[in-house]
């Protein structure tokens, strides 16, 4: 095929390969024995081709992680998927498709890539170090076979041409050689920073991966829902959810406490939220309380730990009186938002009520809109017309059955078994009450706001950030600089011997990594300046 592939160096290009420290693909060694097999395996693993295949596999393996629900991100969606695909889900489950980024096969790909990366970097660093110390290689015999070449005559004697060429080649690394024929050659090379950048990039990449691993092993994350006026401390027990790397396991968390004073959501006139702000007072280890405001995009940073404002909602407040005359004041429970207008659902449980336990299953709407049949929902996330719809239950909550219960809902098992009976239902505005014939009453007093906060620590994060800085610099150097060589061969023009005119023939050849462009122009300019050199 006459078409030369793009970017492919011409075949007759003796000095080109050494322009990068790209590993030479060597054929496997013949022979048997575990040592040869290991060496061949290592060679295969650290070859460019394997790196390419692994990179491609990595991209491919990430695809199901984005298209299937992931238990790490959204367990509820995974459960829904299981219900809707009863046949397929167990198979996917076994293959780890609901936890792609924690699955053994995903780990296998990136670990192999990581090993390949290191196995690839080490020899390249060695080769590049050698290239940095060595003078540029001797000129190939036929400079005219290089992709860029030029030949011209000049009236100057060879020595002077060489001197002037050295001046033109300022900034290049130049080696001066004399050949057996008497010709003088200059080998000049430039752009070593490309390879340096490339190595910095790959090293930074492996450091970045190490930083990610540090975070996974030593990091932790906890989340907690806090009502206004309440707080939490950074201990495993106070979190609603907690996950930690295998090395932390919940011991030795940075000690501090946070109290939520108030939560405010502000809105633009058109109803778009414009700001969420939680005013907090926190007490670090030194015991001196400080105030701060948590906002979206603005966490509290404290001794390597960050506290985030994640979401918010309402907690309706009730005063509950039992038939026996007990009064419970200021009873509140966080209700969980079900939609963008914060129509929220939740439950209030009174295990201490006598003679029977009481419970409320409720729906809260900050701006209640009655759809006509007594069913309310919220028309806005702002509390313009707060109301709550309650179902009052009496009986046994079932807290002592040993079954885990959500604090946000009643145990449906108890209701189904008749142990918990519905005794009343009503929609209430603040100040209104549901009163039963036996004297039991539930008064809706208003609401508190709650904020959910997340505490995170990732000790690898700063490693990742610094590594990324190097990665970007290395990458930019590697992609923007071209490594190139220029050779000059200066010899006396044939037939000029006796004439004494000192005429010389200058041959110039150039070679660049074909990737980064513009060498044709640079070479042309260089030759032009060499040509213009003359006696002054």
């Amino acid at each position: 095929m006459p078409v030369t592939g793009p970017g492919r160096a011409p075949a007759a290009d003796p000095a080109g390969g050494a322009l990068s420290t790209q590993p030479v693909e060597r054929p496997p060694r013949p022979g048997r024995g575990p040592l040869t097999a290991a060496r061949n395996g290592w060679r295969l693993l650290t070859s460019m081709r394997t790196a390419l295949v692994l990179l491609f596999l990595l991209a491919l393996a990430a695809v199901p992680g984005s298209l299937l629900p992931q238990s790490g991100l959204n367990p509820a969606k995974v459960a829904a998927y299981r219900r809707s695909h009863p046949a397929l889900a167990p198979i996917l489950e076994r293959l780890g498709f609901f936890e792609v980024f924690a699955s053994p096969w995903f780990a296998a790909i990136y670990l192999l890539l990581f090993i390949s990366l290191i196995g690839c970097i080490v020899p390249r660093v060695r080769l590049h170090g050698r290239a940095l110390r060595r003078p540029p290689p001797a000129a190939p015999r036929h400079l005219d076979r290089l992709r860029h070449s030029e030949r011209f005559h000049t009236a100057l004697p060879a020595g002077e041409v060489v001197d002037q060429a050295r001046a033109v080649l300022r900034g290049w690394r130049v080696a001066h050689r004399e050949e057996a024929s008497g010709a003088v050659t200059l080998s000049a090379e430039r752009g070593y920073l490309r390879e340096t950048g490339n190595i910095v990039f790959h090293v930074a990449l492996s450091v970045l991966l190490a930083g990610v691993a540090i975070g996974k092993l030593w990091g932790y994350q906890g989340s907690v829902l806090v009502e206004e006026g309440r707080g939490f401390c950074n201990t495993v027990q106070s979190f609603d959810q907690f996950s930690a790397g295998p090395i932390i396991r919940g011991a030795g968390l940075t000690p501090f406490c946070v109290d939520l004073a108030t939560f405010r959501a502000t809105y633009d006139p058109d109803g778009t939220p414009s700001d969420f702000a939680a005013t907090i007072r926190y007490t670090p280890a030194d015991g001196t309380p400080r105030d701060d405001v948590l906002q979206v995009n603005h966490p509290l940073r404290l001794q390597g730990v960050r506290v985030y404002l994640i979401s918010h909602g309402f907690s309706p407040r009730f005063t509950i009186t039992t038939a026996a005359g007990q009064t419970f004041r200021g009873i509140s429970a966080p209700f969980l938002p079900q939609d963008g207008n914060l129509t929220s659902e939740g439950a209030v449980k009174l295990p201490d009520a006598r003679p029977d336990q009481l419970a409320i299953d409720g729906l809260f709407a900050p701006t209640a809109v009655d759809s006509g049949d007594g069913v309310i929902s919220s028309g806005s996330p702002q509390p313009f017309n707060p109301a709550v719809a309650i179902f009052l239950y009496r009986g046994q909550l079932g807290l002592d059955t040993g079954r885990a219960q959500s604090v946000y809902s009643l145990d449906q098992g108890q209701i189904a078994a008749g142990a918990l009976k519905k005794v009343g239902a009503k929609n209430l505005h603040p100040g209104e009450a549901l009163v039963l014939a036996d004297g039991t009453s539930v008064r809706f007093d208003g609401y508190l706001q709650w904020a959910s906060m997340q505490v995170s620590r990732d000790p690898g994060q700063s490693v990742v950030l610094v590594a990324f800085g190097f990665l970007l610099v290395g990458l930019t150097l590697s992609l923007s600089i071209r490594r190139r060589r220029v050779w000059l061969r200066v010899s006396e023009a044939p037939g000029a011997d006796g004439g004494g005119a000192g005429r010389s023939v200058v041959e110039v050849g150039g070679l660049a990594r074909s990737e980064a462009g513009g060498f044709t122009r640079e070479f042309g300019q260089l030759v032009e300046r060499l040509r213009q050199s003359r006696k002054d």
Binding site: T4, P6, G7, R8, A59, A62, P299, L471, L472, L475
Partner: protein, 348 residues
Amino acid sequence: MAVNAGLAHLSDTAFTTAIAVYGLALVSYCGEYAFGRSGRVARTSAEQAPVAELVAVGAVSGGTAPPGAGVRSVRAGSRDAVVAEQSAARLAGRFGWSAAVLTTLGVILHAGSVAIRGVAVDRVPWGNMYEFSSAVGLVAVLAFLVVILRQPRVRYLGMFVMLPVILLMFLAGTVLYTKAAPLVPALRSYWLAIHVTAAIIATGIFMVSFVATVLYLIRHRYDSMVAVGITPGRFPITLGRRLPEAGVLDRIAYRTIAFGFPVWTFGIAAGAMWAEAAWGRYWGWDPKETWSFISWVVYASYLHARATAGWKGVKAARISLFGFSSMIFNFFVVNIMVSGLHSYAGLS
């Protein structure tokens, strides 16, 4: 934060006008393509193939054929043909010139539309899919203008760039259109300016790379068919006759990616820093993060492939097509159909 309705309307008008002007530019590019290069490029490429072979063979065997010696002898055509060719070339030049002027005018209107939108909503004007698409189209046209400033020979390829840009802007103005509005709190951050700007620049540049890659593959296919004596007859391959040499297209594709890739890398990292401040972790495999990662890895594979024996050329080019497909998937499918944390789409 109130929206200035008058300015928002002005921005929309400028946007629509920009599409119309790009449309006119497209027509002119088509004119240049049809009249100009047709004869010349096709003929020289047909002639150069054997000459290139000659030179290559000569070089290997040690001889030196003076460049162009073959060309002159083959090229002696009749006088009439030369005159006809010259007048066609003049016509093409005029079309090309007006196309470039129209493109520049369109870019000014387009940039005006984006800037006025920014003033109208008092924030960076890329907070939803409409605004993002418009800005990507702007970057793509600007990137193409930079390419033709450096390589004026490829100007006539403008139609291949304008076509997808107009399509994108049409989608933006219809399906993706979002009224000028303030942003939700999660997006009110200077990170929006940094992260999304990088994403837009990279996407716009990758779009130009994509066009160059597709044209490269067509030209390459055309060349290899001609080389074995087949006359390409089917549509996309026949385009190859009028395209620049495969090497030129490949270099444009490579250099744009080499420029876009670090920008994309930076964009992902800026996104990670924003996520660290907003969501409590710098990386969490949210679907949009995952697809950005996939695109990154695929473009990294492309760069790698270009340095891997046996993967250069066509195979590497195909990898970069995968890269751009993943960008498109991320933008259209993930934004609209896969729900994650990114509250960006603004479609409802």
